[in-house]
Amino acid sequence: MTDTPLPSPLPAASYIQLDGPEPRLSFLKCRSCGTMFLEPERLACARCGSRDGFDAHEPRYEGTLHSYSIVHRSFPGTAVPFISAVVDIDDGPSLKGNLRGVPFDADQIDGAMRVRIVFDDALGRRDADGNAYISHFFEPLAAD
């Protein structure tokens, strides 16, 4: 037995911040036009071309499902099925992620449902050094 502490998990995407008690999202917001971006740094705004810079912006943790696909076969080694979803975040950009907590049945999925953004372990996936990761997921808001 050893008492080496488990290393802290790492963010699975650069817009996930693990510097507080709870994971949070942080996006870039253009100082000129307010457009938001997922990447951690940019030279200019893709919408307006401004080079005035960006502020960190934390959105609400809710959004609206825009589109999805129920994926039954993906690249070799990828566990299926899962639901690939595009969500328009309230006061934030659009984000892709797994939609969980709904059946794998299009007849039972409200294509414009309200969702919350939650954080969880990255499905047990580890990097080459054994680090765990935290990812975002979408869940139906109505499922409370």
Binding site: H72, F82, A106
Partner: protein
């Protein structure tokens, strides 16, 4: 500006050629196009080659058929690669710098599997943050349309039924069998609503085209079989909020189409046939609207009524489309010009669109870009 004409064009039968090279496939298509125009490699003044997965294929092709020292450039623009090569050659002739230019597109894809590179990260992201696979990406594009206009799974599946039916009349298509609606809908589900029979096929293929200035066409006496390029338009993705989390295949297509119609001075009603980018069955319906073949939300009726089938108001993908021909990425944007040219020359056999005089060809490259060409019988 010169008028630009197609005087020679060829597409090899798409399929699996595991023991050949991209250069060999491309060379076969180029020789076919030269023969079609009645010229030799010594007449080609400049060449553009489209290929996504290999480099310097243009030079390698000329190493197969005759190294004349002409300027050759290789272009890559995702699934719009072949069309982009054609556009470069068209510009070279249009500006008057050259009288005879060649464009060739080629890809060798046997055994490549599902496309769509996973995003880079220390851990695999696929299936953790949704999917970047092409079937899922285009399923999401289709679901977006369906959410707006109520398009059903069956309506998307009918695209495959139609295009596979067309391909039974195309000996150069890789898939040549009827696929009734139940067969399409009950095939293996890949990414709902795209079943396996609603996905284009990875194949090896090549296509090539000889472009000439009007002056050269008249000088060589080739006008009777010449096809005039009325428009060549390319667009990139303007900023849009969900792009690139959700690649925007619509806006780039709309832009390219609008530019092409303006350049040609026509509108969609003047077209006799369309070859559009049906990489997945879900994509075809969106492009009816994007290419102005119908109004907002009318694509569902278009597929239900048979308007886009051979014999319908505006036949779409009478070649069988990418769903049946196969989709060798670099070749696709030249191959759809080959299909239009067959019809405009009256050489399309059983699938001939009767009296065809004007056709439109469209491709989308994820990343994102779109190219639209409008061809007219000279």
């Amino acid at each position: 500006m010169n008028d630009v004409y197609i005087t020679g064009i060829e597409m090899i039968a798409f399929g699996r050629y595991p023991h050949r090279t991209p250069a060999s496939l491309g060379a076969e298509a180029v020789l076919g196009a030269l023969d079609d125009a009645g010229i030799t490699v010594h007449d080609i003044q400049t060449a553009y080659c489209g290929c996504v997965f290999q480099t310097m294929v243009g030079q390698k092709i000329f190493q197969q058929i005759g190294q004349t020292g002409i300027p050759i450039a290789n272009v890559s623009n995702a699934c719009a690669t072949g069309a982009t090569a054609v556009r470069e050659a068209w510009m070279a002739v249009r500006t008057g710098d050259y009288d005879i230019a060649l464009a060739v597109g080629v890809e060798q894809m046997t055994g490549m599997g599902m496309l769509g590179a996973a995003r880079q990260s220390a851990i695999p992201i696929e299936g953790l943050m949704g999917s970047t696979s092409m079937p899922a990406t285009f399923a999401e594009a289709g679901r977006e349309y369906a959410a707006k206009y109520g398009t059903s799974f069956a309506q998307f599946a009918k695209v495959s039924v139609k295009n596979h039916h067309h391909a039974t009349m195309n000996p150069k298509a890789v898939l040549r069998k009827e696929t009734p609606l139940e067969m399409v809908m009950e095939a293996e589900m890949i990414a709902y609503p795209n079943t396996k029979l609603m996905c284009s096929i990875n194949v090896d293929g090549a296509a090539a085209v000889v472009l000439m200035s009007g002056k050269k066409v008249r000088e060589l006496g080739l006008m009777d079989r010449a096809i005039r390029i009325r428009a060549s338009a390319l667009a990139s993705d303007p900023w849009q909020q969900r792009n690139p989390q959700m690649p925007d295949i619509n806006t780039a297509t709309q832009l390219a189409a609008a530019r092409a119609y303006e350049m040609a001075g026509i509108d969609a009603k003047d077209l006799d046939l369309v070859e559009l980018h049906d990489c997945f069955a879900t994509a075809e319906l969106l492009h009816y609207e994007n290419l102005q073949l119908c109004g907002a939300g009318e694509a569902n009726d278009m597929i239900d009524s048979g308007a886009t089938a051979l014999g319908g108001r505006i036949p779409v993908n009478v070649s069988g489309g990418l769903l049946s021909k196969g989709h060798p990425i670099g070749a696709t944007g030249v191959a759809n010009l080959y299909e239009l040219s067959l019809h405009l020359r009256g050489d399309a056999g059983a699938r001939q669109v009767e009296g065809a005089r004007m056709g439109l060809a469209h491709v989308v490259g994820l990343g994102t870009c779109s190219a639209v060409h409008i061809l007219e019988k000279a």
